[in-house]
Amino acid sequence: MSKVMTTRDAVARFVPDGASVVMEGFTHLIPFAVGHELIRQRRRHLTLIRLTPDLLFDQMIAAGCARKLIFSWAGNPGVGSLYAFRRAVEQGRPRSLELEEYSHFGLALRLQAGAANLPFLPTRNFAGSDLPRVNPNILPVTCPFTGQSLWAVPALHPDVAILHAQRADEQGNTQVWGLTGVLKEAAFAARCVVVTVEEIVSSDLIRRDPNRTLVPGFRVDAVVEEPFGAHPSYVQGYYDRDNDFYRRWEGISRTEEDLQGYLDTWVYGVSGRREYVERLGETAQRLRAASVLCEPVNYGY
């Protein structure tokens, strides 16, 4: 039961216009390859879900893919603004963007509630913040034991979760190390799951270290081998974050024209991730990870 397919086919099959799509990875493992394919296939009216919209959603917003954004921090970390996001919110360009806003904890909890199939989860967060005032999805709940008032958020069940990972086997058993963010919660909360990986590996390799499996195969609908699929984000053990590109985005995204020029060259102007990586040329070489191996552990008994 191989689930292997191309990014193009996975997007065509699992992400229709109007879908709600969670694309996770906290700084690490951001699924840019799939984001660019969504732009190329001119997907429209998407509800985009990410804790940190990042350059990925800035590009998708500029390309007109998004109707609504569910998020908790919209900036270019350590650099500045996401200008396409700001143009959409402040000026309605290229179109207006509906916002549904949480803190990281709040949005992570919505995904956790979704993964657990609970209609809500409680938190001690939010008291005193204006966030519940502007978001009707943050409501009070009373503890049945203590009578204490807490806040609650509802489950989130995106139509699709799109994740990038280090490796998976053909059945979709997906292994991740380094930061895991809310990847597991996103995968279990969603109705279907598309995983792109740096390498498709043998099931034997996966099964020799089952504790590294973050998402089991029964939860995965499509697996795509897409090396460098997270660039300009990073993959621990494979390549570093392209911090230089993140810094240059501040300039690129400032005007609609420059951003469009970027999309023309790097998204519409390539057929897929392989051509994108070729165009990156020696930048890709420069970002290659050093080898810092851990020690193997024994699973014998």
Binding site: H104, R124, T180, G181, R241
Partner: protein, 253 residues
């Protein structure tokens, strides 16, 4: 000022508030520098926790983001984000959390969401990220923010991260688990909070800064402690580390 920048004294003033062995929730920018400076000088056993899930991080390079791969390599552990927020922060294990913001008001409430009206913002800021939960749940909060009239209004446009709200006992009355803001470090001085009214009070001036200069950059009649202290300037050792190991890496120059 002496032989250091305004940014450098903000970093060292923040670093000096930490005690060895504390569990600290770290943000990007100056807090990141301050915590990594403290870890490399007075506080080798500081436990650095990043909302990204890195626990006991020992970054070999200055991380540009809180999700940098250098925060994982060599760390004590890695958690998922739901675990960081629930098992570390909500559980009360974070002794010090750092926050910044676009605006802070006289009761230490912070805004990182919008300038202007929420639905028709003049400027759309990044939003909360992990700030709201740090403000609500950390045992104490240290705020680092450059001083300006715009950044220190009488009231913030939006409370992203609650400080003492309307002041007095309001924070306690609402049942916020964390202790709230303990200090505010700016490029002009260090401010603390009155234990009764919970109003921000200037505690020390950075060397060479006058009280009038601070008041001119503050959007309400700012009270000053008496006697008013002078912030300890960066030591030679601190400056050496800041300008050496903690200097931005070449690709960030």
């Amino acid at each position: 000022m002496g032989d250091y920048t305004a940014r450098e004294i903000m970093v060292t003033a923040a670093a000096q508030m930490l005690q060895d062995g504390q569990t600290v929730f770290v943000g990007i920018g100056i807090p990141n520098l301050a915590v990594n400076l403290a870890r490399r000088t007075r506080c080798p056993n500081l436990v650095l926790i990043y909302e990204s899930g890195a626990i006991g991080a020992r970054p070999a390079r200055l991380p540009i983001s809180i999700g940098d791969p250098a925060l994982v390599a060599g760390a004590d552990g890695v958690c998922s984000m739901p675990e960081v927020f629930q098992y570390c922060l909500q559980r009360g294990f974070i002794e010090v959390g750092f926050l910044g913001g676009a605006q802070i008001d006289r009761f230490g409430n912070l805004n990182t969401t919008v300038i202007g009206d929420y639905l028709k913002p003049k400027v759309r800021l990044p939003g909360s990220g992990g700030a709201c939960e740090i403000a609500v749940l950390a045992r104490k909060v240290i705020v680092v923010i450059p001083h300006s009239r715009r950044a220190f209004p009488e009231r913030v446009d939006f409370i992203t991260s609650p400080g003492f709200l309307g002041g007095g006992a309001e924070r306690a009355r609402l049942g916020l688990p964390g202790g709230g803001p303990d200090a505010v470090i700016t490029d002009l001085g260090v401010l603390r909070f009155d234990q009764e009214t919970r109003e921000m009070v200037l505690a020390s001036l950075h060397p060479g800064v006058t009280l009038d200069a601070v008041r001119a950059q503050t959007g309400w009649p700012l009270r000053a402690a008496s006697p008013l202290g002078v912030t300890q300037p960066p030591s030679a050792e601190e400056l050496r580390v800041l300008r050496g190991e903690l200097a931005p890496s070449p690709d960030l120059a």
